[in-house]
């Protein structure tokens, strides 16, 4: 422990004594070689390999060959110095330059946990430096996850998409495969996708200490009543678990529909005569509709009227019957015509095309028969007058 303080003291001396950003520049009063590392005391896991980053600094010395060695290595441990990926034995820092290299330590599985002290030495011709390292053996950190939604409460109609962006953070020291899950009310569809991806995923790998943003998409049923619903998103990996409640407020949506009774969209009418059709106006949405007005656009010179003309309030799932009285023009030609009936209320409207078959009056048919009868009467009269000769 004392050596750590010693090194810290040296470091503080270096840092405080010079301008901090110019460590590589030559502070005129310091001269020599220093071995520096960020974490001189560290914990490694038994049976694994750890790497320690080390720098050798040269202050105001001419470049020279510096031989590296490690002392105090326990038996069975494997220690290697790596520079640029290769094992090295010596470094050669230029004046006022730094050389970085790594110390790789392979700790065997069965090793006593007590602290081990390694000393890294750098020995040149004119100067030398040493760096004591305290290595203690520890256990795994437990896996830990955190889950944070960007927008935890959304609002929309039952036809909207509810997309929650979730930040999943792996707060443990190793990579994890994180399972994604969501608990929603019945008949709600939930799916996880990558933030800008379309592929649905059930689990996602997250590197140690990294954060990943996933998207939870919730699709409520179309006919769901207006209310606030709760969805719980959860992530799990190994024994770590995190969950977050999300709320979705679904507002009602009105939807009008107009149709003939029993779905019939055709009818018959006689030219110049009033015919009545029964229309059914229904609200198939989830919110009430006020002031539903019924109108129609029949062919020219036809008359149309409705009873009732207006429905004050149509609740969700309610139906109302409307009598449409249609009078084709007296001069209408026989045959099929299209008539559009329309219902429009606050925020919703609907229309339906009706096919009206117009029949013409049979009055002229009777007149024609009368004419034939008159002609026959003429014959009968002629027979009575001139017959039997």
């Amino acid at each position: 422990m004392r050596s750590i303080f010693l090194i810290l003291a040296i470091l503080m001396q270096v840092v405080l004594g010079t301008s901090p950003a110019t460590a590589a520049e030559a502070p005129s009063e310091i001269k020599g070689l220093w071995l520096v590392t960020d974490y001189p005391a560290l914990t490694v896991r038994a049976g694994e390999t750890s790497t320690v980053g080390i720098r050798l600094q040269n202050y105001n010395l001419p470049p020279e060959r510096v031989t590296l060695s490690v002392d105090g290595v326990p038996e069975d441990w494997k220690v290697a110095l790596l520079g640029g990926g290769q094992p090295i034995g010596a470094v050669m820092p230029a004046t006022n330059e730094t050389v970085s290299f790594q110390l790789r330590i392979d700790v065997p599985a069965e090793t006593a946990s007590g602290p081990h002290k390694l000393v890294l030495r750098a020995k040149g011709q004119s100067a030398s430096a040493e760096l004591p390292l305290d290595i203690s053996l520890g256990n795994d950190l437990p896996a830990k996850l955190s889950l944070k939604p960007k927008l935890p409460a959304l609002r929309g109609t039952s036809r909207s998409n509810f997309d929650y962006e979730l930040d999943i953070r792996n707060e443990s020291g190793k990579d994890l495969l994180v399972q994604l899950a969501a608990v929603a009310p019945p008949n709600f569809q939930t799916s996880f996708t990558e933030n800008y991806g379309s592929q649905e995923v059930t689990s996602v790998p997250i590197a140690a200490g990294q954060t990943k943003t996933m998207k939870l998409k919730v699709d409520p049923p179309d006919n769901i009543a207006a209310d606030e619903y709760r969805v719980v998103a959860s992530v799990a990996a190994e024994d770590a678990r995190a969950e977050v409640p999300l709320t979705m407020q679904i507002t009602g949506r009105p939807e009008l529909r107009i149709a003939g009774k029993d779905g019939r969209l055709s009818g018959e009418a006689e030219a110049g005569e009033k015919s009545t059709f029964t229309l059914v106006v229904s609200n198939e949405g989830t919110a009430p509709i006020r002031d539903v007005e019924i109108s129609g656009t029949p062919p020219g010179q036809w008359e149309v009227s409705f009873e009732p003309k207006k429905i004050d309030l149509l609740g969700p799932g309610e139906k109302a019957e409307v009598q449409a009285a249609l009078t084709p023009s007296a001069k209408a030609i026989a045959g099929d015509y299209m008539t559009t009936f329309r219902a429009s209320g606050e925020g919703a409207s609907s229309s339906a095309d009706f096919r009206i078959t117009v029949r013409t009056s049979t009055l002229w048919g009777v007149v024609g028969l009368g004419l034939i009868a008159v002609a026959l009467l003429v014959v009968v009269g002629a027979v009575a007058r001139y017959g039997r000769r």
Binding site: P298, P299, G300, Q301, W302, S329, K331, A332, I333, A334, G335, D336, Y337, M338, T339, R355, T357, R359, T360, T362, W364, G365, G368, L369, L371, I372, V374, A375, L376, V378, V379, A382, V383, R385, Y386, G387, R388, R389
Partner: protein, 320 residues
């Protein structure tokens, strides 16, 4: 002094004898073959064309009657031309040949009234026409069934049967005209010439003459001449005048009955067509109602022409 008893005594023997004479006469045979051959030719070409060209059509049977392919006209237009000829051929010498053969007094010496004689002759002519038309109709439907293989729908059968009846009355008009002339003129040649002349006048000349008559009755105003349009009154008068010809009436009836999508025969204003679904077929009743005035006209014409014939025949002096 009025005589007793039914005026129709002896109608049946006259009818049967005349019918037998018609059906066995060489003249009738020639006419029948004429109709048969031209009709079959028209229908056969129509079938060939329908079988290879026509897309799905709900009224395939009716197309047999109305389909025309160059150089042959359609079957109905052939009928409209030939039926008057057959009817005139059947009736032009109905009465005056009895005089020229001096058999009239012998017939009337039997217990048969003139009423029965005339009615019997007229009905025999109609019966002959009916027999040949029904045979022709069956032949066409049969050909259609065999060569097209599509069974006709009930509505098609109804429409084509109505067409058959109307054709019979159309022939009846010309038969009544021919018998009228055979009563009025003692010479068979004169009556034949008059009947054929009237037929030519109404069939060929009348459609050409009508526009001139209309121009004479309703002189067009200067603005209409500049714009090159005919006024509403002119069109209506032209239509009324052209309907004096049985040929026009027959043509309109055929149009409405055999083309079910026909919705109007006269003038139609755009306001009446607003919202209308064009091309949709009318129900049979509506089609019939559309041409009912024309059908009534044909039937009434037959009856009235017969009444005139009857009166003039009854008032004639017949000597032995």
């Amino acid at each position: 002094m009025r005589r007793k008893g039914s005026p129709w005594t002896g109608l049946a023997p006259v009818f049967l004898k005349e019918l037998a004479d018609h059906l066995s006469s060489a003249r009738m045979r020639v006419l029948e073959w004429l109709v048969l051959l031209t009709g079959i030719a028209a229908v056969y070409t129509a079938i060939r064309e329908i079988g290879s060209v026509t897309a799905e059509d709900p009224f395939l049977l009716l197309r047999l009657f109305t389909h025309a392919r160059d150089p042959l006209p359609s079957f109905v237009s052939l009928l409209g031309f030939l039926i008057p000829l057959v009817a005139i051929g059947l009736g032009f010498d109905a009465v005056n040949s009895e005089f020229s053969r001096r058999t009239m007094s012998r017939v009337l010496a039997q217990p048969i009234y003139r009423d029965a004689l005339l009615v019997g002759k007229f009905l025999a002519g109609l019966g002959t026409l009916a027999i040949s038309l029904v045979a022709l109709w069956l032949l066409i439907v049969g050909l259609g069934l065999v060569l097209l293989g599509v069974p006709p729908s009930g509505e098609e059968v109804l429409r084509s049967l109505t067409f058959l009846v109307v054709t019979l009355f159309y022939g009846g008009v010309w038969l009544a005209v021919a018998i009228l002339f055979s009563v009025l003129f003692r010479s068979t040649a004169t009556s034949a010439l008059c009947a054929i002349g009237l037929w030519l006048l109404l069939t060929i000349l009348w459609p050409i003459l009508v526009p001139f008559i209309v121009q004479a009755i309703i002189p067009p105003d200067p603005a209409a001449i500049i714009l090159g349009v005919t006024s509403l009154e002119q069109i209506e008068l032209q239509q009324t005048l052209s309907r004096f010809s049985p040929n026009t009436l027959f043509g309109e009836i055929v149009l409405a009955l055999l083309h079910p999508s026909t919705r109007a025969l006269g003038l139609v204003f755009p306001s009446q067509l607003q919202g209308a679904l064009l091309g949709a077929p009318l129900p049979f009743g509506e089609s019939l109602l559309l041409v009912w005035p024309q059908i009534t006209g044909l039937i009434a014409a037959v009856i009235l022409l017969f009444a005139i014939t009857y009166v003039s025949f009854q008032r004639q002096e017949i000597r032995a």
